[in-house]
């Protein structure tokens, strides 16, 4: 069945996105942010979603949480259709799925104290006992490496970006969710702090038994924390596969281009004179057929006429390309 990738394991996927389409109108133009994307995430897995700016990965993340209205398609979380839910039912579902953002300082209300911010999910979820709330807040703040006594009464602006991100992670964890969407959680942080936060996320994942959707534009970061990776371009998925395998032998020309463009901290490696592949087209008027064809050295007539579907070229690796780098075998 086109566009529908069955999990190879026998476990049911925790999250299933089916043919999701998200568009929005800005000043009279329709932006096709997400066009017919289907993917699944198994319980306990980290799926990395990578792509450059404008590819729709953040929109996809928000749409999964129903923070953005989808035009069509379904999102199934643990078998429940989130797109069909409203009001209270949806709010109750939200406790099981959380979100971490890119800008940690903007994610915290500047006028509320850290203790209140981290306790907020508990209040919304109906935990009435203040003592119990304090207890849970203290536990989760310690878990992320912050001293509750020092932190609880202060305001966000007193903390650095890395510490604020820890607070955001604590807030996401306090309700013991099953699934967390991380939307560029380390992009705005200093290099030396990034590693700390990535390690923390891995640690929390192990400790709380989480499933993660990790969205980022930095491939090396995504590879470091993901089991499987999905590459997105202009609203469509190009390639999906296990991390190590995908980066070692990419099947899609775009994935190969991304990998080649990464600056390697080794002076022996001369950066390849980049092929002038130009600018990405606008999501308002994406190219017909395969959206990457305007920048692809392998593009031909077929690519303009027909949009490629995701096919399995190598066990577990799926690519949407008429002329993949690895021939389907």
């Amino acid at each position: 069945m086109t566009g529908d990738i069955q999990p190879s394991g026998s476990r049911d996927p925790l999250l299933k996105v089916e043919n999701l389409v998200v568009e929005y109108v800005v000043g009279g133009n329709t932006i096709h942010a997400v066009s017919d994307v289907s993917l699944h995430i198994a319980r306990g897995e980290t799926l990395g979603l990578v792509g450059e700016s404008g590819c729709g990965k953040s929109t996809l993340g928000r749409a999964v949480l129903q923070l953005r209205q989808a035009v069509s398609g379904r999102v199934l979380f643990d078998g429940h259709d989130l797109t069909a839910m409203q009001g209270d039912a949806l709010r109750r579902m939200r406790r099981r799925v959380q979100l971490i953002f890119q800008d940690p300082i903007a994610s915290l209300n500047p006028r509320r104290r850290i203790g209140e911010i981290v306790a907020e999910p508990l209040v919304i979820a109906g935990v009435k006992d203040a003592k119990r709330r304090r207890q849970l807040v203290g536990d989760v703040l310690s878990a992320v490496g912050l001293d509750p006594g020092l932190v609880v009464g202060r305001l966000p602006h007193e903390f650095s970006g890395g510490q604020c991100q820890r607070v955001c992670i604590a807030r996401a964890l306090v309700l013991n969710p099953e699934f967390i969407i991380c939307d560029e959680p380390v992009s705005a942080l200093d290099v030396s702090i990034r590693a700390q936060i990535l390690n923390l996320l891995e640690e929390m994942k192990a400790r709380y038994g989480l499933t993660l959707l990790f969205i980022a534009h930095d491939l090396a970061v995504v590879k470091a924390v993901s089991d499987r990776v999905a590459v997105m371009y202009l609203g469509r998925l190009c390639e999906v596969g296990p991390s190590a395998q995908l980066f070692a032998r990419p099947a899609h020309p775009y994935t190969a281009l991304l990998i080649e463009a990464i600056p390697v901290p080794d002076p022996e490696v001369r950066p390849a004179e980049s092929v002038p592949v130009g600018e990405p087209p606008s999501p308002i008027a994406p190219p017909s057929g395969c959206r990457f064809r305007t920048r692809c050295p392998r593009a031909d007539r077929q690519c303009a006429d027909q949009a490629p579907e995701l096919r399995e070229v190598v066990p577990q690796q799926f690519v949407a390309c008429h002329h993949p780098l690895i021939a389907a075998g």
């Binding site: 290099v191 534009h217 491939l219 090396a220 590879k223 390697v264 901290p265 080794d266 001369r270």
Partner: protein
Amino acid sequence: MTGPALLSVENVAVDLPTPRGNLRAVDQVDLSIGAGQTLGIVGESGCGKTMLSRAILQLLPKKARLSGRVMFDGQDLVALGPEPLRKLRGRSLAVVFQDPMTSLNPVLTIGTQLIETLQEHLELDGATARKRSVELLAAVGIPAPEQRLLQYPHQLSGGMRQRVAIAIALSCEPKLLIADEPTTALDVTIQAQILDLLAREQRRRHMAMILITHDLGVVAGRTDEVAVMYAGRIVERAPTPVLFRQMRMPYTAALLAAIPKIDAVPHTPLPAIGGRPPDPTRPVQGCSFSPRCRYAAGECYRTKPALAGAESCDHQYACFHPLASATGFRA
């Protein structure tokens, strides 16, 4: 380094008065760069690299106090008056900033901004300036340059805007280009193109370039010499291949180790640097990196190590226990 230095920064320090006391943004920095060379300055936020570039350009905030000398092409920029400085900037000394959206004037067309610069510094007439602008835009890889002249910055993508900023910077054939995080705000595929463009133009014009970034990967293949900054000081400096072959300052090694590598195995814990970057308003006695350094001991907490090279004057570092040396530790 071959030939006399084009730019020589001598014992420059920048102090900023703040409500919380004096902030030493840049602390006794010595640098030099010759014509046609590329110097990379690497550091995280707050290390003073942007203040240093402002100090070189003499564009510091009003309350800042600068000490030391900045010798450019034989002249001391610190002692120079405002009018000669203004003539120098844009003409011999050019800058490209991080965010092209804010470094380009949003209410003027691209053409106006380019032509203005040309007319001001090179005193070209309108028609010649326009022709030159079109050539420049084409040289930086912007398609349909004539149409672009009439467009406004917001109508172009981030990569395009940065190319325009580079075109403006290069328009008067500067001797030195300072690129302050020129690709940090751009996608990785565009980043590669922009860096290639800068390298190409530099070779063609035999221009010196200072590339300021937080990304060690960016400097690795594209610079002749690298200086690593931390808490306002240069903590290690060496020709690029020498630096990457053997890092002596633990901070440099830790910084390199903390970057996720594309060929690493997934789920390996990254060797993170503990603690937080230093707060310039609360200077630490002794080496600024000592609170976070694995190898810190005794003297590190008391005195600030001076930048010096034990083996050769090419490779200098500020550390009492440099890595993999007689007095140091294995990395």
